[in-house]
């Protein structure tokens, strides 16, 4: 039998929801702890090993301060594989929603003029700074997807990730379309699957929390919404919630002018 892979689970600036999603694998947690050698996981243990080289690092969160960047670079340096977990690590998440506002202004808004104690930089995903080997978006990640990745890595394989849309999952569940039937702004056609269309299956339009699929048809989607009387500002506001750097940086802004 080969040696157990040495792993670390880390959080940069985040809500810790992705690490919690791992802790939420209640039925599998003890098996995971047995199959892997968990050397470093601050959220779940003390006495963490901060130096030994890791086979796999799972990293949640955004870089929102220089401290995060230093931590991330140290993790990358000691790890053979780096798995970005969660929409923050993959796309920037909610923290990256208003990167266009200078941090100095934000700090003044929050702390006032008199004290400037905060180390804050434009919030950007992990992959803006270091090489990532696997990207698992989700806000939070779906635990089944995490378990699949962990199982693949355990067997020395690289996992295969989904690249079809929430819209496809929604159709497979035979839900009534919220755009067609109700004229709602549903991000399902643009958003990568994995959640089994949770929101539309609850009559709630998709908010795009997993970030975009590859090669999104922005034009077609924009036209579809516009035909139902939805303005470009409304579309932009909705779509910028979870993966603003992806939508705004790439195409959306220019295409819907």
């Amino acid at each position: 039998m080969t040696k157990k892979p040495k792993i670390g689970i880390f959080g940069l600036t985040s809500c810790a929801g992705d690490q919690l999603a791992i802790l939420n694998c209640e039925d599998e947690l003890l098996t995971i702890a047995d199959a892997f050698d968990i050397l470093d996981w601050e959220m779940a243990k003390t006495n963490n090993d901060k130096v030994t080289e890791l086979d796999i690092a799972f990293v949640e969160g955004v870089v929102a301060q220089t401290r995060d960047l230093e931590a991330l670079q140290a993790i990358r340096k000691r790890s053979k594989l780096l798995v970005a977990i969660g929409t923050c690590a993959v796309w920037g998440g909610v923290a990256a929603m208003k990167n266009q506002i200078p941090r100095e202004i934000l700090k003044k808004e929050v702390y006032g003029e008199e004290i400037n104690v905060v180390d804050s930089v434009e919030a950007l995903p992990v992959r803006s700074f270091v090489k990532t080997d696997i990207l698992l978006p989700g806000c939070p990640i779906e635990k089944e997807q995490f378990l699949q990745i962990a199982a693949s890595l355990l067997h020395g394989d690289l996992p295969e990730l989904l690249n079809f849309s929430v819209c496809s999952e929604c159709k497979m569940r035979e839900n009534a379309c919220l755009v067609v039937e109700k004229g709602e702004i549903c991000c399902g056609a643009l958003t990568v699957s994995g959640c089994n269309a949770r929101c539309p299956s609850h009559n709630i339009p998709c908010g795009g929390c997993h970030g975009p699929i590859e090669e999104v048809h922005y034009d077609a989607n924009y036209t579809m919404f516009a035909q139902r009387g939805i303005t470009k500002e409304e579309i932009q506001t909705k779509m910028s919630n979870f993966a603003a750097p992806a939508w705004m940086g790439q195409k959306l802004l220019s295409e819907i002018k």
Partner: protein, 432 residues
């Protein structure tokens, strides 16, 4: 005797988020006791400016993974308060269930996975499981039960998607609730085991002084996480709209989270504050757990937060069973979220989430877009009190061995179940 000593816990493990402890003793005097917070800032109150009322709760839910249901519902209640929306009884029951699911998950996670390893001498639940498989399994099963409720009612265990302003997207079916009820009944037995376990563990007291604590008063004559009035232990009751009189926030240099003071003094919120104030409303097995764990009330020992959470764990399971019964009584016909008009307005929402009172405040323009927002989390309110308690403990333990002092300080900080992501969402305050 004139010892210079320094304790630095660079990263407090087994808590949510990034924080540490920094203590300095010079010539036998305490010169510094800091609970340091160095989680990055996400500026939530600025992020939601300009967003439509329907978008807010799913954004602010992301303040915290562990209390995401609490943030979601507090946000929706603040919005409903602003637009004078009356929710239905079914929505009330479903929200109650969702909150109890969160309390069960959060308390089981804290007690079983974060605190028990401390008390039994392990670095975490996974290493503890080798010697205490039964206890860890019970904690994980209770945690799973809490998640099952959140998954069913909220549509997702973390960051619920089914709860919206005015109601729910989809209501659970009769069969689903029947199944859940059976699991809750099993959970009630498991929670007994947790109470039993904690009743056998004596928690130390480091000469903690009497302090101020605060919690919401229940609307009815029963233990509840919802209420329209804030009670502070100096005997004053205020409507939740006056929350800023209770949590007056200040910026401190060693923390990216602001600290809260009440009349210039630290105060406590959370399970122990709630038990101190509202224990007379507990019934059933939760009352039995209370009698077992709290011979004397009120308690000013922050380590008793752990006992208080164990009592609430039992209460939340019992109340969930009751809420399912009520849902059966009103039937299962489909119900759309309540329709309403938006207008320029402001509103406040408050809920007792696992770690204490959470406040959301919004101002809207006539299009229903946020123009001003304020979120005050329990951990931000507790931070000054954590430092106060650590200072008291340092005074008592100063002359003893350094590692005892360090682990005692870690135990105090951990007892508060600090949710550092929450505290560091950065509150935007404008006192007008």
């Amino acid at each position: 005797m004139d010892k210079d000593r320094k304790i630095v816990v660079p990263h407090l493990g087994r808590v949510e988020g990034h924080g540490g402890i920094d203590v300095e003793i010079e010539k036998g005097d305490i010169s510094k006791v800091n609970m340091e917070i160095f989680e990055g800032s996400r500026f939530y109150e600025v992020l939601i400016i300009g967003k439509k009322y329907s978008e807010i709760s799913s954004i602010v839910s992301r303040v915290c993974g562990i209390c995401s249901a609490g943030h979601t519902l507090t946000s929706q209640m603040a919005t409903e308060n602003a637009f004078q929306i009356k929710i239905t009884q079914r929505t009330e029951f479903l929200r109650g269930l969702l909150l109890h699911g969160e309390a069960i998950e959060s308390h089981a996670l804290h007690l079983g996975c974060l605190v028990l390893p401390d008390l039994l001498g392990y670095d975490g639940p996974l290493s503890m499981a080798k010697d205490y498989p039964k206890e860890v399994t019970i904690a994980l099963n209770l945690k799973k039960l809490g998640n099952k409720i959140q998954e069913l009612i909220g549509g997702r265990a973390i960051h619920p998607i089914n709860a919206v302003v005015g109601g729910f997207g989809k209501c659970p079916s009769k069969t689903q609730l029947e199944q859940l009820k059976i699991e809750l009944q099993k959970g009630l037995e498991m929670s007994d085991a947790i109470v039993d376990l904690f009743s056998k563990i004596k928690l130390p007291d480091f000469n903690f002084k009497e302090g101020i604590y605060s919690a919401l008063l229940p609307k009815e004559e029963r233990y509840s996480y919802l209420g329209d009035y804030i009670y502070t232990s100096d005997g004053i009751t205020r409507p939740i709209s006056e929350f800023r009189k209770v949590c007056h926030e200040k910026v401190v240099a060693h923390s990216t989270a602001k600290q809260s003071l009440y009349n210039n003094q630290p105060f406590m919120v959370g399970a122990l504050a709630r038990i101190n104030i509202n224990h007379k409303y507990l019934t059933g097995k939760a009352k039995e757990a209370l009698d077992k764990l709290f011979p004397i009330l009120p308690s000013h020992n922050p380590l008793h937060i752990n006992y208080a959470q164990a009592v609430e764990l039992v209460h939340s399971i019992e109340r969930s069973i009751q809420l399912i019964k009520f849902l059966f009584e009103i039937g299962f016909e489909h119900e759309e979220p309540v329709q309403f008009e938006v207008f320029a307005s402001k509103g406040v929402g408050a809920i007792e989430v696992p770690r204490g009172t959470l406040y959301h405040y919004y101002e809207f323009n006539d299009k229903g877009e946020v123009v001003e927002a304020d979120i005050i989390t329990p951990t931000a309110q507790n931070l000054a009190n954590v430092e106060k308690n650590m200072r008291e403990a340092v005074k008592t333990l100063m002359q003893g061995p350094l590692n005892t002092l360090q682990s005692s300080l870690e135990n105090i900080a951990r007892a508060y179940d600090p949710c550092i992501s929450c505290a560091t969402h950065l509150v935007r305050i404008k006192f007008k």
